[in-house]
Assembly symmetry: C2
């Protein structure tokens, strides 16, 4: 009775199927490409932070932090920066390259709220997002046109790890970007608690003045993983070619050792 | 004499080559993926601008412009927006989807400078960039949690075309993002010239009050392609479901017709 509904493809149909089967991978790639977008790094960032540990949670928190934007060979033309000297700030669109896997949850727990309160991923700047894109506003410190890597932009206040791929650089335009009176949600309500930082003279003597200031301001922001509060524990933070060791007790951070240039990095 | 340098691969070598040849496409994809990044749309934008024509050149230029962020099905969870109501502005990272091909030159000619002066692509926000990523700051007009598409964010002042894919949404944080005293290069030196706009009462009557205001402010920015200045020419600009016709003479833009709902779009 229902025989006419049995699947019995014609010879032509089977032939067509066999033909397209060979090409299914190209077809799938085409579909994925049409919906998704592929972007490529135009530069990478050079920073004293060689690991995620200690990086300020936003740009601008430590203006003393120096970094460099080094372009990929294809973009090492001074022409691409013509006119940039008239701007004070830059936007960087970059990749959370140490969190490449992206979001697994629609909610995240901002460290600013102690790591216990859940907020929507689109209401925070958490690195665990559907697309691992970072956005930072950095101050232009200068442009060095004569380096072995072509024109290099020196910037201040970045929150990027060393080696971070950068996908776009755009100038900061005040009328479009600056809203000094805007409400900033949970960020307004929970001011950053700064630690008191002590760096003994003997250790401080090993740093250049500017570097020491950047380190001090970074440590004030409390580089410990949130939740942790063990006054006995010795934390280590890579910073440039150094390995900083410290302890935190009652809101006071004391640097106890500068382990010096790490082997193989000197 | 030089026979020993002739290439004569061993049988093993040839076998190995034959084997990997089968997989070269997977290998190439792996290499490309490792260097490049693939991102996927999390939302798309709903705007009265159905073509590039007339879209303000930056966000915030026409705050009366209303638009909507409609999430892709995978991100239609109200949870993902928890905490957003405390913020006034949002960052959108989106795709210049009408300029998908990217940059061909390290320099571009900003319309603000009359289209004749060349500046570096990284010193402007031109859509012709190595990666076609757009960045816009928009005001949050409200969140509608009960739409057929899940939670929809209503925004003001966007410079996005209808249907634009959005890759990330981040809250605006004043201490990191606002620099009201920053220098903005060529943008500071060349103020936007606004046109005087006349919309006859008969045509104005066809619009809601807010829509009319957004249209007027948009027309003030001069939607004509730069270089063009023909007082006889009638320009057409799609705006929502309408087709606006106008002429420009001596800095005065006169709307001469509202061609009404376009066929098939009513």
């Amino acid at each position: 009775m229902r025989a006419e509904r049995t699947c019995s493809p014609s010879a032509e149909c089977r032939l067509f199927y066999a033909k397209i089967q060979k090409y299914w991978i190209f077809f799938s790639i085409f579909v994925i490409k049409y919906i998704n977008m592929e972007i490529h790094p135009i530069a990478h960032f050079v920073s004293p932070f060689t690991s995620k540990f200690g990086i300020p949670k936003q740009s601008g928190l430590v203006e003393e932090l120096e970094g460099e934007i080094v372009f990929e060979p294809a973009y090492r033309q001074a022409d691409a920066l013509r006119g940039l000297e008239g701007f004070d700030y830059l936007w960087l669109i970059w990749e959370f390259s140490a969190n490449r896997h992206g979001a697994v949850s629609p909610v995240v727990r901002p460290p600013l709220l102690g790591g216990n309160t859940r907020l929507g991923v689109f209401a925070t700047r958490s690195p665990f997002r559907p697309n691992p894109l970072g956005l930072s506003c950095v101050k232009i410190g200068g442009i060095d046109y004569a380096t072995p890597h072509g024109a290099v932009i020196k910037v201040l206040g970045a929150d990027l790890m060393d080696g971070t791929p950068i996908y776009d650089i755009k100038p900061y335009i005040v009328y479009a970007d600056s809203h000094p009176d805007a409400r900033s949600g949970f960020v307004d309500e929970h001011r950053i608690q700064r630690l008191q930082v002590e760096i003994p003279d003997k250790i401080a003597a090993g740093f250049a003045r500017k570097e020491l200031e950047a380190l001090r301001k970074t440590l004030e922001l409390d580089p410990r993983p949130h939740y942790q509060n063990d006054p006995e524990r010795v934390y280590g933070m890579p910073f440039g070619k150094r390995d900083i060791r410290f302890q935190v007790k009652d809101g006071r951070l004391v640097v106890i050792e500068n382990a010096g240039p790490k082997p193989g990095k000197a």
